[in-house]
């Protein structure tokens, strides 16, 4: 198919000028993996310093730069772009479209990312050091008391926001306008649904983040006092604005992960997803609730008790649609005929660990108990269970699942399984003990700690090194598959997989669905 179209251009210009959703998806995925390794390297510095009590490797100020950049790079550089890459590759193939709706903008939304991160990383070399105020950058530590590099940080955040908004508009336009005839909304694969909702969340909240950093910029350089009480402003206002962005942001990260899991578990259970409609409604419900729970990150700032109660009740409610999701996945597995290839292993790992992260989330929602949890390692453990075991595990599962479709070659299954088990064990050795030290009273973001926390921190560091190393195995497996993996000839690489992308040849040709597919035989799921 597509004889009348030329193939990709040769050399660097292919990647610079490309408007092809598959090329752009590939660039997003490689870029995000590079950022994952960079953010991981920062985490290794953190864990090495925390290996023992006392200051050993770095100074406290540099430690704070590491925690800050680790968070920023992982959230904005690794996890978010990886899911955008996945969306680029998969959404057109899943809905039977030839490409994304706005291909030139697609190119632009990717290519502004590398300069933004280069700028952010370059702050490490600036006088006064990189931003050291945490990825949540609370004022006035990030304004009056910030190093000069904060201005570059603000500009980087602006660019990332622009990139995300353009990417989201593209996804919304594609899903709304370019579905194959017959593919109604309630026939779209769940991955497409979760991304559509995610894109709306992004368009709603990225401008709020841009507003927050712009107000910071004004406070720093133009004498305003949005966040300074001395000039009539309010430092807590910053937190309200930040978390109005920040809470939807965590669902921006996890909803596409839900979509991935909802594709993979049915495929390896050889059984349709139990409740397609309720999954769609649960996703929409979570998205709505994400806008009215932001201040549960701020139980200790001294809100009036009525506000605390509102945010506590609203936050607890999130357990309902999240529970619906988990119950659906488990029921999908029930009485299926399961096999446990690497994508399924990572999906089950996701299911178990994300549920644990959900439980600790429920505990954190209880405001009076949160006075004891807030800003401790218990919180660190909680959000790594949902960010790493949630988002990163599902992303890994997605790469293993669709890699044969993308490249036409199979990864090494044994190595994939080893990667899973080493990741799973390494992850839990790292983060499970952090629940204990957090409950016992260890604050987060400290470079040194009291002696009663020593054993668990050492364990945590060992686990982190194991988990970090296991990602190199992943990198090797993917490259080896691309270079010399066993060729797959079937369109349907996995016998239980359903969806339009599995009707295409493997590897998927450069241009696909130039004429829309017929949908009669496609099941709703």
């Amino acid at each position: 198919m597509g004889d009348h179209h030329h193939g990709p251009a040769k050399g660097l210009s292919r990647w610079l000028y490309t408007t092809n959703h598959k090329d752009i998806g590939t660039m997003y995925l490689w870029f995000s993996f590079a950022m994952f390794l960079l953010g991981g390297a920062f985490a290794m510095v953190i864990r090495a310093e925390l290996f023992q009590p006392g200051m050993q490797l770095v100074e406290p100020g540099f430690f704070n730069q590491m925690t800050t950049l680790h968070g920023l790079v992982m959230v904005f550089g690794a996890i978010m772009p990886s899911f955008v890459g996945l969306a680029n590759w998969l959404i057109p193939m899943m809905i039977g479209a030839p490409d994304m709706a706005l291909p030139r903008m697609n190119n632009w939304s990717f290519w502004i990312l590398p300069p933004a991160f280069l700028m952010l990383a370059s702050t490490l070399l600036m006088e006064g050091g990189a931003p050291a105020f945490g990825w949540t950058f609370y004022a006035p530590l990030s304004t009056t008391y910030a190093p000069p590099s904060v201005t570059f940080f603000i500009f980087a955040i602006h660019i990332l926001g622009v990139s995300s908004i353009m990417g989201s508009i593209n996804i919304i336009a594609t899903v709304m306008n370019m579905r194959a005839p017959g593919m109604t909304y309630m026939k779209m694969p769940l991955f497409v649904w979760t991304w559509l909702i995610t894109a709306f969340l992004l368009v709603a909240v990225m401008p709020v983040l841009a507003g927050a950093v712009t107000m910071m910029l004004m406070d720093i350089h133009f004498g305003t006092s949005f966040f300074s009480a001395a000039g009539g402003g309010d430092p807590v206002l910053f937190q309200h604005i930040f978390w109005f962005f920040g809470h939807p942001e965590v669902y921006i990260i996890i909803l596409p992960a839900f979509g991935v899991i909802s594709q993979i578990i049915p495929a390896f259970s050889r059984k349709p997803l139990f409740g397609y409609a309720s999954m769609v409604y649960a996703t929409a419900g979570i998205a709505f609730l994400s806008f009215i729970v932001w201040a549960h990150h701020m139980y200790t700032v001294g809100m009036p008790v009525a506000g605390e109660l509102f945010f506590m009740y609203a936050t607890m409610l999130i357990a309902v649609p999240t529970g619906v999701k988990v119950f659906n996945w488990v029921t999908t597995m029930w009485r299926g005929a399961m096999t446990f290839e690497t994508p399924m292993l990572f999906s089950i790992g996701f299911l178990v660990l994300f549920t644990i992260g959900g439980f600790t989330g429920l505990m954190l929602s209880i405001a009076p108990a949160d006075f004891q949890y807030h800003d401790t390692y218990f919180v660190v453990a909680h959000f790594h269970y949902v960010m790493v075991a949630g988002a990163v595990f599902s992303m890994t599962a997605a790469v293993y699942f669709w890699l044969p479709k993308w490249t036409g070659r199979m990864y090494n299954e044994t190595m994939g399984k080893v990667h899973f088990w080493v990741s799973f064990i390494g992850f839990n050795v790292t983060f499970f003990p952090q629940h204990f030290v957090g409950l016992a009273g260890m604050p987060r973001r400290i470079p040194d700690y009291a002696l009663q926390f020593a054993d668990f921190n050492m364990m945590s560091s060992i686990g982190a090194f194991i988990y970090g190393m296991s990602q190199l195995l992943f990198l090797y497996n993917v490259i080896a598959a691309i270079v010399s993996g066993e060729k797959v000839s079937d369109e349907k690489v996995w016998d239980g997989a359903e969806g339009l992308e599995w009707t295409l040849p493997s590897p998927a040709p450069y241009h696909t669905f130039e004429t829309p597919p017929k949908l009669e035989e496609q099941p709703a799921y």
């Binding site: 050291a132 005929a337 006075f371």
Partner: protein
Amino acid sequence: MLNARALAATALLPLAANAQNQINMSTGISEAGAVITDLGAEIYGLHMLIFWICVAIGIGVFGVMLYSIYAHRKSKGVEPSQFHEHTGVEIAWTVVPFFILVLMAVPATSTLLEVYDNDDAEMSILVTGYQWKWKYEYLDADGENIAFFSNLATSQEQIYNTDTKGENYLLEVDEPLVIPVDTKVRFLITANDVIHSWWVPEIAVKRDAIPGFINEAWTRVLAEGVYRGQCTELCGAYHGFMPVEVHVVGQGEFNDWMAAKRGAAATDAALAATELPVDELMARGEDVYNASCLACHGANGEGGLGNAIAGSTIAMGGLDPHLNVIVNGVAGTAMQAFGAQLSDIDVAAVTTFQRNAFGNNTGDVVQASDVVSYKEG
């Protein structure tokens, strides 16, 4: 960044042997079995209630999943069922969790209302967060407030691994907060620079200290003892080095302590009116330096986060520019205005110390009266 000296020393020093691994939240009960605070015990109970509910749900969900993984495998030759969607089940797993949540919300609400019950306090203490120390001010009806700073007491040698770490490593201060037992104490919590957070796990009080705003919290501690905590909001480079130490003592002991504090304040005021000999100024100045300057300027004045004091043109130049830096701080840097934090006699002592220690042999002696006249311009 790399600190090779400290790294080399790490391997040689054993950790204190009595470090214990605690894996759960403070129970609110002391080792002797006495309730520390009612609220702490209640919060612990709430925490455990939610925990066990989660465990029960987890056993259900993971049990079903594990059984399914065991029994419904293709390798066992099972044929996949194709069932999907069941309205009854779907309504049940929406409604039942909702009622479980209501069950949790009831005790959570009543505990939260208690946390917010700041009425009828018997005494009030203003807690102010500074980079990187706490200031405690006992508010007195007659305006005779007692105020002091509470600095980290752990030595730099312990932190940089050249000395054995003590039992309360990083959790010890030079001057603890002292409060009477079985007394409702109201804390007014604020900050001078960035946001801090005042937390003592065992008495279950945590509240953010926000510059320009005053938050309220309270406690009534029922068991005498020493309770330790830390700052829990990232507040800059030395966030990990500003602990909280609370001594809860009997009313009589508290009264004695308060009287001694008032006496010391009167002595300081008297000292400020006299001329001190240079060796007394130097000794006092060294103590002040170690508590307030050392973290940034180094044990030997070699600098670090702050500029070097040894050989500094400020410390060896004119007196007024030197006092200006110490009294008024340097805007836009971590150098704070110590004029508001230290007594005049302490400013005089530390200025004298800086001008004569670390090889800065200027021979200058600065008296409290010099500081007073500088401040008056």
